[in-house]
């Protein structure tokens, strides 16, 4: 199975595990989409935004001395956008509904990020 297919599979199983996740994107740290289940028009921008969120988070975490960044969360009044650092080669962006169980989303998405790190390692 190609890396692309393996990444796509990680996204599919994440979606399957948490019904309230409404979309996911895997991008390189400089914002190029590696795989996504978002719409074709939406994916490039979401991938770039995930990289921006993670990159800015990394700089903030370093500057304010809280270590190397692992996650960035954006909470809207109608849902969440979460970005997880998946090793050095990718970032995972997840869009979740407002009613989502955030603990469950984190649990599954962190596991997915670990898988991505292994695939791309």
């Amino acid at each position: 199975m190609s890396k692309q297919q393996q990444i796509q599979e990680v996204i599919a199983s994440l979606r399957e595990a948490v019904a309230d996740i409404s979309g996911a994107v895997v991008a390189s740290p400089d914002g190029l989409v590696l795989a996504s289940d978002l719409g074709e028009s939406e994916a490039p921008r979401a991938g770039a935004m995930a990289a921006t969120g993670s990159g800015l988070g990394r700089r903030i975490a370093e500057t304010l001395a809280v270590g190397s960044v692992e996650e960035v969360m954006v909470k809207g009044d109608n849902g969440y956008v979460l970005v997880y650092r998946a090793g050095d080669k990718s970032v995972l962006g997840v869009v979740a509904k407002g009613r989502a169980n955030l603990g469950l989303v984190n649990l599954e998405a962190r596991a997915a990020a670990e898988k991505l790190e292994k695939i791309l390692g």
Binding site: P29, D30, P44, T52, L56, R59, T63, D88
Partner: protein, 187 residues
Amino acid sequence: MVWQRLKLVVSGPVGAGKTTFIQSLCDDSVVETDEVASEEIGKEKTTVAMDFGRAFFGDLELFVFGTPGQERFSFAWDVLMEGAFGLVFLVAGDRPASFPAARRMLDYFVSNFAVPVVVGVTRQDLPRVWASEDVAAYLRLSPKEVLGLNATSRADSRRALLRVLELWGVGVEGESAAEGTVPKAPQ
């Protein structure tokens, strides 16, 4: 004493020298958000969110923000331009292949933000490089809006900034071409 704080944005296509320009211009250490580039862009790392530094000119304190260059980061251009008084737009003078993208990008800025713009044509230290007048013609700008520079030169980066301030209507005492004028804040 600082009498006015202004926000300046530095933009332009990938590889134009934005981060270097800000490092040259700014007086303190620059906050960067660079990541390893996964495309062939002629360098190892690329800005994904913004650069930030401060520069002092006479009584002015400038907050300088650099944008990412790739079009996929255009959302960040909008965010960073909020409240900016002017724009320095850099183009790599030795890479004519990047000129069409530069023109598209510049059109975007000019049509969305009513601020003075100075175009800097970088890499003037190289033997094969476009002159600023030729780039001005290509971008359909007046020659006074375009200047050649080296992004690594502090003097060049400050000159570019002074040009933006002049277009905006502010001279900086002791540094401006308009000698002896006391800076006034436009309304």
